[in-house]
C-alpha cells in the first residue's frame, strides 16, 4: 500500500501540481494565441471589408438634382413621333441633350452650374423623354443625376466651389441600379460592372471547367496510381514548382501559346480562362494530394478486400473522403484566379470594352482588371466606384465559393 500512496502523492504532489499548472499555462497561452491569430485575421478582414464598404457603398448610390427644364422654349430638335418610334435611342443620343441641361442649369442655379451635370444626366434625361414623350411640349420638373464631379462634391469630398453651388440645389440620393447593369465607361457617373462581371464569370467558368477536373485527376494519378519513380518525381516537382511561378509568367505562356501559336482571340475570356486554369491547377493538385494522402490506408484496404478495383476504390472512397481538402484547394485557387490581374494584362484583357461579352470568344474585361484600371483613373468619381466594384467582386467570390464551401462542410468527416 505504501507504493500506492507514493504513486498517489506523485500525481497530486506539489512538484507535479506546479508542473501541471505550468502546462496549463502553456495550454492557455497556446489557446490564446490561436484565438489571437484568428482574431487578428478576422479583425483585419473586417477592417478591410468595412473600409471598402464604407468607401464603396457610395458607389451604389448617386445623387440626383431637381431641375426644371422648359422643353418648349429650348432649341431641341426632337419630335414626339421619333421618340415613339424604333429609332428613339439614337435620336436621343444625337439630340444634344447635354446642351439643354446646361442651359437649364445655368438658368436655374447661375453661372458655373453647367458643371453639375454630365454624361449620365443626358442619358437619364433621354430615357425619361422616351418614357414620356409628351414632356417635349412642357416645362417639366425632373430629377436628373449629377455629373461625377458634382456627385463627389455632394458626397462631401470634392471641389469646395461645387459644394457651395450644390447648397442651392435640391438633391436626393438614390440607388444607382445602373452600376450593376452598365458596363465600363469613361465617365464615372455612368460606369457599371456588368460587362466586367460577365467577363469574370465567363473566364472563371472556363478556368473552373478545366482546372478542377484536370487538377483532381492529376492529383489522383500522382497519389494513387503513379509508380514511385523518377518520372513521377519530375511531375510532382514540376507541379509544386508551377505553383511558385509568378502569375505574370503564365501570362507570357498564354501569350505565346494561345495567342501567338493557336491564334485564339485576344482579350477573350476563353484565353483568360485557359491561362488562369494553368495557374490554378497546381494549387488544386497540391491541395488535392494532401487531402488524398490523409485518407487512412485502412479504408483502401477495406475496399480492395471486397474486390473493388483500384479505380473503384479511388472514385468510391478516396475521392469523396478527400473532397473537402480538394475543395479547399479549389476555393483558394479560384479565389486567387478571380482576383488575378497580371497574367490577364499580358493577353490583352486590360482593354477598354464598353459592352458586355456575348460569349467566351468575345473581347471582355474582368473585375480585377477593371478595378486595377479604375484605381488609376484621373476622375475622383472612380474612387468609390473602385471600392464598389471590389464589393461586387467579393460578393461574386463568396457566391462562387458558397457551393464549394457547402459541399466541403457536407463531405467533411472525422474518423
Amino acid at each position: 500500500m505504501n507504493s500506492a500512496s507514493a504513486a498517489a502523492s506523485r500525481w497530486t504532489g506539489e512538484e507535479m501540481q506546479k508542473r501541471v499548472a505550468g502546462r496549463y499555462r502553456a495550454e492557455r497561452r497556446f489557446r490564446f494565441f490561436g484565438f489571437f491569430a484568428i482574431g487578428i485575421s478576422v479583425a483585419f478582414l473586417a477592417f478591410l471589408l468595412i473600409t471598402m464598404a464604407w468607401q464603396g457603398l457610395g458607389g451604389f448610390s448617386r445623387t440626383e438634382a431637381r431641375l426644371t427644364v422648359n422643353f418648349a422654349t429650348s432649341d431641341l430638335f426632337l419630335e414626339e413621333a421619333t421618340l415613339r418610334g424604333p429609332e428613339a435611342q439614337e435620336a436621343v443620343a444625337s439630340a444634344g441633350l447635354e446642351g439643354v441641361i446646361e442651359q437649364a442649369a445655368v438658368a436655374q442655379f447661375g453661372e458655373g452650374a453647367g458643371e453639375l451635370f454630365g454624361g449620365a444626366s443626358a442619358r437619364s434625361l433621354g430615357d425619361q423623354l422616351i418614357e414620356d414623350p409628351s414632356l417635349l411640349t412642357k416645362k417639366a420638373e425632373l430629377w436628373i443625376p449629377l455629373s461625377s464631379k458634382a456627385d463627389v462634391a455632394a458626397k462631401g469630398e470634392g471641389d469646395p466651389a461645387l459644394e457651395k453651388l450644390l447648397d442651392k440645389v435640391d438633391t436626393k440620393r438614390v440607388f444607382n441600379s445602373e452600376f450593376l447593369t452598365a458596363s465600363d465607361a469613361t465617365d464615372a457617373s455612368v460606369v457599371g460592372v456588368w460587362g466586367a462581371l460577365k467577363g469574370s464569370f465567363l473566364t472563371i467558368l472556363v478556368t473552373m471547367a478545366l482546372a478542377f477536373p484536370i487538377g483532381v485527376l492529376a492529383a489522383l494519378y500522382l497519389e494513387e496510381f503513379a509508380p514511385r519513380n523518377r518520372w513521377t518525381d519530375i511531375i510532382e516537382v514540376s507541379i509544386n514548382n508551377l505553383a511558385a511561378v509568378p502569375s505574370i509568367i503564365f501570362g507570357l505562356l498564354g501569350l505565346a501559346v494561345f495567342l501567338n501559336f493557336m491564334h485564339l482571340p485576344r482579350s477573350a475570356p476563353l484565353v483568360g480562362g485557359l491561362t488562369l486554369a494553368l495557374m490554378t491547377m497546381p494549387v488544386i493538385v497540391i491541395a488535392g494530394r494532401n487531402a488524398i494522402k490523409s485518407v487512412p490506408p485502412s479504408i483502401r484496404d477495406a475496399a480492395l478486400g471486397v474486390g473493388a478495383s483500384k479505380m473503384q476504390v479511388v472514385f468510391h472512397h478516396v475521392l469523396p473522403l478527400a473532397l473537402p481538402g480538394i475543395l479547399t484547394g479549389t476555393i483558394i485557387g479560384m479565389a486567387r484566379a478571380l482576383g488575378e490581374t497580371a497574367p490577364l494584362l499580358m493577353i490583352g484583357m486590360r482593354a477598354f470594352i464598353a459592352s458586355p461579352p456575348e460569349g467566351i470568344t468575345q473581347p471582355a474585361s474582368v473585375l480585377p482588371v477593371q478595378i486595377f484600371l479604375w484605381s488609376d483613373e484621373v476622375d475622383r468619381g472612380f474612387v468609390e466606384k473602385t471600392s464598389a466594384a471590389i464589393i461586387v467582386l467579393l460578393v461574386f467570390m463568396l457566391l462562387m465559393n458558397g457551393l464549394a464551401i457547402y459541399l466541403r462542410n457536407k463531405f467533411e468527416r472525422r474518423w
Binding site: L222, A243, I249, N290, I405, W415
Partner: protein
C-alpha cells in the same frame, strides 16, 4: 450550324448505344451468367467507342470545313470579284459569315450581304458531309464495340484504361505547362545573356535597368545584377510575410479545428478564405496608405533614420495577411483528417490539448501543413501589386526592414507591362529573371520534397 446538330446526334447516339449495351448486358445476366463487369461498364464502354472517334473526327473536321467553305465561297462568281488584299477580303468574309450565322444584319461592305447566302449554302453542304461521316463513325463504333459485349468481356478494365489514360493526360499537362514556361523563357533569356554576361546577372549586386531600350531613350547604362532582387524577394516573401503568415495561419487552423465550436468553424474558415481572394490592388492601397506611414513613423520613433514610407516591412506584413488562408485552410484540412484515434491516444495519456496538437497532430498532418506553407510562399513570391505600392521599386540590398526593397516578380511585371522593346536587354531581363526564379524555386521544391518525404509520419 448543322455541325452542332451532328454533335448532338453523336452524343445522343452514344447515349442510346450505351443504354442498349446495358440492356444487353443485363440480358446476359438474366441468362444466369455472372458477368465479369457490371452492365454499367458495358454501357460506358460502348458509349465511349460510339462517341470518342466521332468527336475526334468532328474536332478535326471543324477547321478543315472552315477552309473548305472559304474556298468554295471565294470560287463563287461573287467571291472571285473580291479584293485581293487579304485584310479587306477577310473582313468581308467575316461579315458574310456573321450575316449567315444571323449574328448581324448587314456589314460595312455591300459584298458581304451578297456573299451571305452562298456562305450559308456552303456551310450547310459541308456540315452535312462532316456530320454524316461523324454519325457513321459513331454507328460503326457502337456496332463494333457492341459485338464485344459478353459474359467474359472485361468492360471494366477497358473503361478503366480509358480513365487511366485521362489521369495520365491530366498529369502530363503539368509537364507540358512547365515545358511551355521554360521554352517561352529560354530563348529570350539566351538573347539576354548575349547582351549581358551571365556572371554579372547571377552575381552582380546592383540592379538598375536604366538602359536605353531604343537608341534615343532615357538612361543609357544599366546594371543587371539580380542578387538584390532575389534578396528582396526572399526578404519580403519568404521572411517577413512568412513570419506573419505561418504562425497566424497555423494557429488559426489549430484554433479552428481544435478549440472552436464546429459551427463557428464552418463560418470562420470561409471568412479567412476571403482574404486570399481580395484583389491585390486593395491590399496594395492598404499597405501603402495605412500600414506604410505607421511603420515609417514607428521606424523613426525607434531611431531608424533611414525609415522610408516604402518599406519591406509594410509590404511583407500585408502580404503575410493575404496568404494566411493558404496556410490556415490547408493545415486545417490536414489536421482535421488525422484520425480521432490518434487524438484519443494522446489525450488518454494525460496530454493537454496543446501538447496533443504540437506533438501528435501536427507531425501527422505535416505534409498538408508544408504543402500549405509552400503554396503560401509561392503566392508571396508571385505577388507584385503590394510590393510596387508599398515597398517601392528600388533594388536595395538591405536587411533593414524599414527600407525600400523590390522583388523579382515586381521587376518582371514592370519590365513587361511598361514601355517595352523586345530586343533590348531591359525587356529581355524579365525573361532571364523569370527563368532564374523558375530554376531557384525548382531547386527549393526538390529540397522540400526530400524533407517532407523524410519527416512524413504516416498514420495506420
Amino acid at each position: 450550324m448543322t455541325l452542332s446538330i451532328a454533335l448532338v446526334a453523336v452524343l445522343l447516339l452514344a447515349f442510346a448505344a450505351g443504354l442498349f449495351a446495358r440492356r444487353r448486358a443485363v440480358g446476359l445476366r438474366g441468362g444466369g451468367a455472372r458477368l465479369n463487369s457490371l452492365p454499367g461498364y458495358h454501357a460506358f464502354y460502348v458509349a465511349l467507342w460510339a462517341a470518342l472517334p466521332a468527336l475526334l473526327l468532328l474536332a478535326i473536321w471543324t477547321p478543315v470545313q472552315t477552309g473548305l467553305i472559304e474556298q468554295s465561297v471565294l470560287s463563287s462568281p461573287v467571291g472571285q470579284k473580291l479584293p485581293a488584299f487579304d485584310l479587306a477580303r477577310d473582313t468581308i468574309l467575316t461579315e458574310a459569315r456573321e450575316i449567315a450565322a444571323g449574328d448581324r444584319e448587314a456589314g460595312f461592305n455591300a459584298e458581304s450581304s451578297e456573299l451571305a447566302p452562298i456562305y450559308d449554302a456552303a456551310t450547310s453542304r459541308y456540315a452535312a458531309v462532316g456530320g454524316s461521316i461523324a454519325i457513321v463513325f459513331a454507328l460503326l463504333g457502337a456496332f463494333l464495340s457492341m459485338r464485344r459485349i459478353g459474359v467474359d468481356f472485361r468492360a471494366r478494365s477497358s473503361v478503366e484504361r480509358w480513365v487511366m489514360g485521362l489521369l495520365v493526360a491530366a498529369s502530363l499537362i503539368a509537364i507540358l505547362t512547365t515545358l511551355g514556361i521554360v521554352l517561352s523563357l529560354l530563348f529570350e533569356s539566351l538573347r539576354f545573356f548575349q547582351q549581358v554576361p551571365i556572371t554579372e546577372f547571377l552575381f552582380g549586386t546592383t540592379w538598375s535597368p536604366q538602359t536605353a531600350i531604343r537608341a534615343d531613350q532615357a538612361g543609357s547604362s544599366g546594371a543587371f545584377g539580380s542578387i538584390p532582387l532575389f534578396w528582396g524577394t526572399a526578404f519580403i516573401g519568404a521572411i517577413i510575410a512568412m513570419i506573419v503568415a505561418i504562425p497566424l495561419g497555423l494557429m488559426s487552423a489549430i484554433f479552428l479545428t481544435q478549440y472552436s465550436p464546429p459551427k463557428l468553424r464552418a463560418w470562420l474558415k470561409p471568412m479567412l478564405e476571403i482574404l486570399a481572394g481580395v484583389p491585390t490592388v486593395v491590399y496594395g492601397y492598404f499597405a501603402a496608405l495605412t500600414v506604410a506611414p505607421v511603420i515609417r513613423d514607428f521606424g523613426i520613433a525607434i531611431g531608424v533614420s533611414s525609415a522610408s514610407s516604402e518599406s519591406a516591412l509594410a509590404a511583407g506584413l500585408v502580404m503575410g495577411i493575404m496568404i494566411i488562408p493558404f496556410v490556415s485552410s490547408m493545415a486545417d484540412d490536414s489536421i482535421a483528417a488525422v484520425p480521432q484515434a490518434m487524438r484519443d491516444g494522446s489525450l488518454a495519456l494525460g496530454a493537454t490539448k496543446s501538447e496533443t496538437i504540437k506533438k501528435v497532430l501536427l507531425p501527422a498532418a505535416l505534409p498538408g501543413v508544408v504543402g500549405g506553407v509552400l503554396l503560401a510562399v509561392s503566392r508571396a513570391i508571385g505577388e507584385t501589386m503590394i510590393v510596387v505600392m508599398a515597398a517601392g521599386l528600388a533594388a536595395n540590398m538591405t536587411i533593414n526592414p524599414f527600407e525600400s526593397v523590390t522583388t523579382v516578380t515586381t521587376q518582371i511585371v514592370q519590365l513587361l507591362t511598361g514601355d517595352q522593346e523586345f530586343d533590348s536587354a531591359k525587356t529581355l531581363a524579365a525573361f532571364a529573371l523569370g527563368l532564374l526564379l523558375f530554376v531557384i524555386t525548382l531547386i527549393l521544391n526538390l529540397i522540400a520534397l526530400r524533407v517532407v518525404r523524410k519527416y512524413r509520419e504516416a498514420y495506420e
